[in-house]
């Protein structure tokens, strides 16, 4: 009898009590919302991600009761998660296809409202030692590079338009996207519109199979790869290239002029677009003389009616901030301020959200 008492250690029971207590606390906190803050979650395109994340952190100062969490994981994932009801709002460079809107109606339980939040241009950024920014690429040149017909930087198609530039005999590394991306969709949409060879060899869409090159994840992954690989060229949103001091190519537009990417040249293109009622429009090959050829809006996807009233109000407040004060931050990060008619139409659409 005394043997058992000696060996009976005091440990098991207190540990059991503590474990149960910890389990109870965790179970309680799962349902408890610590603090009065409303948290809204969004995910989607990496194209506007720097801007949305900046808006999220600025908006916290405007309304400390709302925390906005945006994760840039690619337009494809953003739309999927939004239609499945996993996030409160989505973001996509290609808005949503009709089938996706239908699916959102059935699984997320309601209509979707697409609101253009900002716009930007897609550039071809490159890293060639010794070559200055502003390399002129004709349509034949950049399509040829992307399908793999042009393999080195000193190829005649590139040299023709750039007399006086010393192009090295360096192999071209094309950098593309590994994830499903609205940026890819817009970019390949333009290339397919411009070249039937591109349509045949690559096609267009959020996720395509490129015949050459390495792939990075997100606009940021592609930027990092271009920065670290001599001889690389890839497609990224203008802000990423500008903020990381990448050299950008001047692209030949439909009118035959070489236009350098900038907030102004993108704004010129945007000014000629008239948005339809559902605010979804893509301009694949603008006609104007000074238009930069690859420009797109990017949309925030919201539910028409939110089950949780607090969340609905928080989302509306955030998007309203984005459409008003947020537009001033946009050019700092390389995005285009929305034209005022677009803002008016967007705010009207926002009003329909409950």
């Amino acid at each position: 009898m005394s043997f058992i008492n000696q060996t009976k250690l005091k440990i098991p029971y207190p540990i059991m009590n503590r474990t149960f207590l910890a389990a109870a606390v965790i179970a309680a906190s799962a349902t408890l919302n610590l603090g009065a803050a409303t948290a809204i979650n969004g995910s989607g395109a990496t194209f506007p991600a720097p801007l949305y994340m900046r808006w999220a952190s600025d908006f916290k100062k405007v309304d400390p009761n709302v925390t906005v969490n945006y994760q840039g994981i690619g337009s494809g994932a953003g739309v999927t998660q939004f239609t499945q009801g996993i996030t409160d709002f989505g973001a996509s460079d290609v808005a949503m296809k009709d089938e996706e809107i239908l699916q959102a109606r059935t699984s997320a339980g309601g209509r979707t409202v697409m609101i253009p939040a900002t716009a930007g241009s897609i550039v071809l950024a490159y890293n060639v030692p010794g070559v200055q920014p502003g390399l002129k690429l004709t349509r034949a040149a950049y399509i040829g590079i992307l399908v793999g017909d042009i393999k080195t930087w000193n190829a005649p198609e590139i040299a023709k338009a750039n007399s006086g530039v010393n192009l090295p005999n360096l192999p071209i590394t094309v950098v593309t996207r590994s994830d499903a991306s609205g940026t890819t969709a817009v970019f390949t949409g333009h290339c397919a519109e411009v070249s039937s060879e591109f349509t045949a060899k690559v096609g267009s869409g959020k996720s395509v199979t490129w015949p050459v090159g390495v792939a990075g994840k997100g606009n940021d992954g592609v930027t990092a790869l271009i920065k670290s690989t001599p001889g690389a060229i890839g497609y990224v949103e203008y802000g990423f290239a500008a903020n990381n001091k990448l050299s950008m190519a001047q692209l030949q537009n439909k009118a035959g002029n070489f236009i350098a990417p900038s907030v102004e040249s993108a704004a010129t293109t945007l000014a000629s677009i008239k948005l339809p009622a559902n605010l979804r429009f893509f301009i694949l090959d603008p006609k104007g003389a000074n238009d930069y050829p690859i420009v797109t809006f990017t949309w925030l996807l919201l539910k028409a009616a939110y089950a949780d009233a607090a969340k609905g109000a928080a989302v509306k407040a955030f998007v309203n901030y984005a459409l008003t004060k947020g537009q001033e931050t946009a050019p700092q990060l390389g995005y285009v301020t929305l034209p005022s008619e677009v803002v008016t139409k967007a705010q009207a659409a926002l009003e329909t959200v409950k």
């Binding site: 999927t80 996720s207 199979t209 390495v214 792939a215 670290s228």
Partner: protein
């Protein structure tokens, strides 16, 4: 009587003892059952989610070369080749190195403290998270492979394995880092196998006049061979399942290529990159790939365990 008996309680007072169901034993049985069921649950869930793709693509999935979500074409042959190639190349580097370290740790070439340090170092290598290997690989290994790969492609580019252009994020980079990650597994199991060889065999060999290395190569290694083979197989299993470092280093390309210096992909990296954004049939296709991965790693691990068990039985018999 009637099944009840009198027994002494802890305070000394007499109490009736009624046989009660042992709840604790039942709880333990349930816990054990849940563990076994977990494997079935995982496999079942994956098969269910993969079924649409299995039905649609069948075996063509394994031989298809195109992975184009926008055209609904899914084939994982390049990815399977990438998985096999990266694992085998990693083993190619890790096996000699791991074996050398295991021999070093089981013999007394150098004093005990140095051996303990090396053992500690190898364990430390094993505990470093995969992402940190990836981060290190991005900033150290990628530029190295880019630089020397370009030279390799220039000199030996006529061989399909070294065909240029040389990318930094390539099969070679991922395989090198993978070799480092698999090294501790091979070392630990091989060392156990070498130590388990009975001292009598070693002494007999010395008595016959063999030098130390003749003993190692002629007696100890052949005896420990099953254990070393087991370590290789288990290392292979670990290599196939490795995800993060590979996803960060391999270049993520689904193109069929025979060159070590080109970007490639593995099953696990494919899942890591594409899973979050897949929809519709792409989810099924990725689940099909996940099923292939699970089956491959299970088979390899079962084989490894079987060989290991046989190795342990052989040595026991020798004593």
């Amino acid at each position: 009587m009637d099944g009840k008996s009198i027994t002494a309680g802890s305070s000394g007072a007499l109490r009736e003892y009624r046989p009660r169901p042992d709840f604790f034993r039942a709880g333990c049985w349930i816990a054990a059952g849940v563990t076994v069921a977990l494997l079935g649950f995982i496999l079942g869930e994956i098969v269910v989610k993969a079924w649409p793709a299995i039905w649609k693509f069948g075996f063509g999935f394994l031989t298809g070369i195109q992975w184009s979500p926008n055209r609904d074409l899914y084939g994982v042959l390049p990815v399977l080749i990438g998985t096999a190639a990266s694992s085998l190349i990693a083993l190619l580097f890790a096996l000699p190195l791991g074996l050398a370290i295991a021999i070093f740790l089981s013999e007394n070439f150098l004093p005990h403290p140095i051996r303990q340090t090396i053992r500690f170092v190898v364990e430390l290598l094993a505990s470093i998270p995969s992402v940190v290997y990836g981060l290190w690989g991005i900033f150290l290994v990628v530029p190295l492979v880019q630089e020397y790969g370009a030279i390799l492609a220039a000199k030996l580019g006529f061989l399909p394995v070294f065909a240029g252009p040389a990318y930094g994020n390539s099969l070679l980079t991922a395989s090198l880092v993978l070799a480092l990650m698999v090294l501790p597994t091979i070392t630990a199991i091989s060392r156990n196998a070498l130590i388990a060889v009975p001292p009598t065999l070693r002494e007999a060999s010395y008595a016959l006049g063999a030098t130390r290395w003749e003993t190692i190569l002629g007696v100890i290694l052949p005896t420990a061979a099953p254990g070393i083979v087991a370590s290789t197989i288990l290392g292979l299993g670990r290599a196939m399942g490795e995800t993060m470092a590979i996803a960060m280093l391999i270049g993520n390309s689904q193109r069929l290529t025979w060159s070590l210096l080109s970007p490639s992909n593995t099953l696990s990296a494919l899942l890591a990159n594409q899973f979050a954004e897949a929809e519709g049939i792409q989810v099924s296709a990725l689940m099909y790939a996940a099923l292939l991965l699970v089956l491959m790693t299970l088979l390899v691990n079962i084989a490894g365990e079987a060989v290991l068990r046989r190795a342990q039985r052989t040595v026991v018999g020798l004593k």
